[in-house]
């Protein structure tokens, strides 16, 4: 679907080898945020496909004018009402095929928050703390993300 642009780019480069080739986008970058509290993990219920109705970590796509950390803070607030500070890198999840919509790579962060202000945002049907996350269906590879983060941080 991008052939027209890249052909144009290739011709420009051939005509003038000193100009710089533009980068070719190769994935959709997302963030996911693992927030543990005394009662469990903060999860949202997905409002839209894929995995509609399943629980998932708060997160979403990185905007073009923000870093992954900034996206994590923004998405967590939008989906849960929680303000997190200083999210810590927990892992990078890049297996091809982890998202049925296409190639997404997720940067997972670990954060602490005061869950008193928990409330569902626009993209989430429900934001809640789940203690029994090991035994419910979670979207994407989010169960693995939580397990990995738990091993590393607690």
């Amino acid at each position: 679907m991008y052939n027209g642009f890249w052909l144009f780019n290739a011709i420009k480069l051939k005509e003038n080898p000193n100009i710089m080739q533009m980068v070719r986008y190769n994935c959709a970058l997302t963030v996911d945020c693992v927030i543990f509290c005394k009662e469990g993990v903060v999860l949202i219920k997905r409002k839209n496909p894929p995995f509609q109705g399943d629980y998932a970590l708060p997160g979403g796509f990185v905007d073009e004018d923000e870093t992954a950390e900034e996206a994590c803070i923004r998405e967590t607030f939008e989906e849960t009402g929680l303000t997190i500070k200083d999210p810590q890198l927990a892992g990078v999840y890049s297996s091809p095929g982890r998202d049925p919509r296409g190639r997404t790579v997720s940067i997972a962060f670990f954060a602490k928050a005061d869950n008193q202000s928990l409330q569902a945002g626009d993209d989430a049907a429900e934001a809640t703390v789940i203690s029994d996350w090991q035994n419910i269906s979670l979207a994407f590879d989010h169960k693995k993300i939580i397990r990995d983060t738990l091993k590393r941080h607690q």
Copy 2:
């Protein structure tokens, strides 16, 4: 440049709200590999713009059929001849504007290797171990990546 496809996608979705929206690629994902050895850090001399002629960490773009870890192992071998095992996540570098060619986000890894087999590959003019990396010009934010990794791992 992608408008045609996304318009088509939007029309399909309007006609059939049950189909899943494809993800929109939002960055070029790259990997960089920090390899310390007794004498310094393994660096390559860049053959192509941007930062042509500057030293840089071995690395490159993630292919669509591989994870970031696999890309790190492949690119390090291609550019330096070194075989690394089990690269460890060192950081994610996602500041908008860190690459003059467009939005690139780099997953940095930390690895150990036997530098006896060091040799420049196709994309690199030179692969070498530099002890004085603090005082030379490095491409992109690679000096920061090395400093951050050094703080965390040594």
